[in-house]
Subunit: 349 residues, 2 copies
């Protein structure tokens, strides 16, 4: 089966040109990719003049409405009909596309996707999972990053299963190393829900992962962990704190280099080193946050992503479709049994 | 009145020598400082041989027991009698010292201090406040960082008052800029407690601060905020995430510089720049986390701090004593009135 990916051509800070350049780059790397380009037909046609390869692999779905960046999720759902995000998601729902990629309003995309595609069987709440750079040669997956402000133990266990499935698909890991984000690594640390979730994962049989307990937030980028599981509030705090601190250090470095003539000269000479740093930290190389737990693949490209970033997001979507992430999560949930919890649940019924 | 600071000489990863070297450095800078050195008399006497200035300003309080790093807070409280932490805190309680500084087990110090000194009038729960580096010429104060895993709106409002008092004392700001840490800046973002706290601070009269709403975690180091208020769980996650990311970027940078001969040469030339970066990020320059909200000043020095770091922690303690942080918080609480909340509370009575 050919993969057909719906692109919300109107999302993203840089507009149609960058979204299509990204799709074209992904298509250039993977000849089997096909696209459904959703958005203003005139603008799309014009942008396609630069990308004959993409044009030959694409259909256009005209939409003359967009959801702006400052619309609340609840409003977005009401306004979604006929918008580029709404039509891209509807195409997934109708089976006309196997995945949707958008660079638009995250909250709106999440709310529209959840309403249209519905949460998949066995999962109570979908979660937003992103990739963060590490000192090793692969990124770490962190979820949830803001879809759910408050989460209970059951949600966290499900996030662990979804994150592990994503990690196995992305990196071919047999048993990804999974940890729960906490304020200490001892058993008694953190909230009751965190301790419950850890207990369930520790005692579960048939786990499609290596559950290794808690981690503190200073180990996120260590590369020793493949999947970090957290509630959406803490996850968002951790993600933003990492982004802010990385920018802070690189800003300081720039200032330091500019502080004297000698330093400026040193900077020029060590250009390859600072370029390597820049490449490693470039969000475009880690672009593509995934909504896991829906009946369909939906990927959020960062609003400020460039063509390379959009291409990465498209490739993430394609990989999740190819390896049928939804079915894999269903299978994983069927195979594993949280010994501690199941009898209690039965008693409760 | 001369200031007398109780030093837990046994706390800290590097032992008596570093704790006393730190005290000696602080004394060298401030001739009025006096010390009560709590710990093993023989070890302290030996270390004092290197610091005649400190010896002339110090009394020794012998303790032959210590609380180890892995003891739980609840155990620590039971074992505290006669330990160096316990006796340093008791000296504050008895008025024999005006502040205590320890580099020992944070949870133990917090629990022992809370039990002995009690929470001050008008405050429901003490909070741990630390200093983080920014792009400006002053640090940002963040609290709570782990004393309270879960906090309600009332706690957060009190933390804001305490953090603002600390900021005014430390930096002589008239009205420090205060924000609540959240996952977005719009009014409807985050938990109900966060929204409540923001509402109360927005509507309060006589605020000893400029309350500016919410901030996301990527702005922590921007220098645009003087005090960041959060619950202990999120605060700990944010603090550790910032520390981890800063280390990650500097590790990457080291690797990048080592990646080629040319880069190594560039590194040597730009040494002043990277030294400036190192200086700015050095935790010793931001050492001294304060327990705010107790009847007495208690400062936690980082376990790995060097003499310069310990001296900073001692100076923070002295400054809080000199400006009577406890009385200042009492006054601030008396002056300000959260218009929205007070009538409701009266009705509830």
């Amino acid at each position: 089966m050919k993969q057909r990916i719906a692109i919300d051509a109107m999302g993203g800070d840089h507009g149609v040109a960058v979204m299509l350049a990204g799709a074209a780059l992904a298509r250039h790397r993977h000849e089997s990719f096909e696209f459904l380009l959703v958005g203003d037909e005139v603008q799309i046609e014009k942008a396609l003049d630069n990308h004959p390869g993409l044009r030959s692999a694409s259909q256009i779905l005209h939409s003359d409405k967009q959801i702006s960046g400052d619309v609340r999720p609840s409003q977005a759902v009401r306004q979604s009909r006929g918008t580029s995000i709404g039509m891209a998601i509807d195409a997934v729902k109708a089976g006309e596309a196997s995945a949707a990629v958008s660079g638009g309003n995250t909250g709106a995309l999440m709310a529209i996707a959840k309403l249209a595609l519905r949460t998949m069987p066995g999962i109570d709440r979908p979660a937003l999972a992103a990739l963060l750079p590490t000192l090793r040669d692969h990124d770490v997956i962190m979820l949830d990053l803001g879809a759910n402000t408050e989460c209970d133990a059951r949600n966290l266990v499900q996030f662990a299963v979804m994150g592990a499935a994503y990690s196995r698909i992305l990196y071919d890991f047999d048993a990804p190393k999974v940890r729960l984000l906490n304020i200490g690594t001892e058993d008694m640390k953190g909230t009751e829900d965190l301790r419950d979730a850890a207990q369930q994962l520790k005692e579960a049989a048939g786990l499609p992962m290596a559950f290794e307990g808690f981690t503190e937030a200073d180990k996120i980028s260590s590369g020793d962990i493949d999947v970090i599981v957290t509630d959406g509030f803490s996850g968002n705090i951790a993600l933003k704190a990492v982004e802010g601190a990385a920018r802070f250090v690189t800003d300081l470095l720039k200032r330091s280099f500019a502080s004297s003539l000698r330093s400026k000269f040193g900077f020029l000479i060590s250009r390859p080193a600072t370029e390597l740093l820049r490449h490693h930290l470039d969000p475009n190389n880690h672009n593509g946050a995934v909504f896991l737990g829906l009946n369909g693949v939906v990927v959020k490209s960062h609003g400020s992503a460039d063509a390379k970033g959009v291409a990465n997001a498209v490739e993430v979507a394609a990989r999740l479709v190819k390896h049928d992430v939804t079915q894999r999560i269903v299978d994983d949930l069927g195979n594993f049994d949280t010994g501690a919890d199941a009898p209690a649940q039965k008693r409760a019924v």
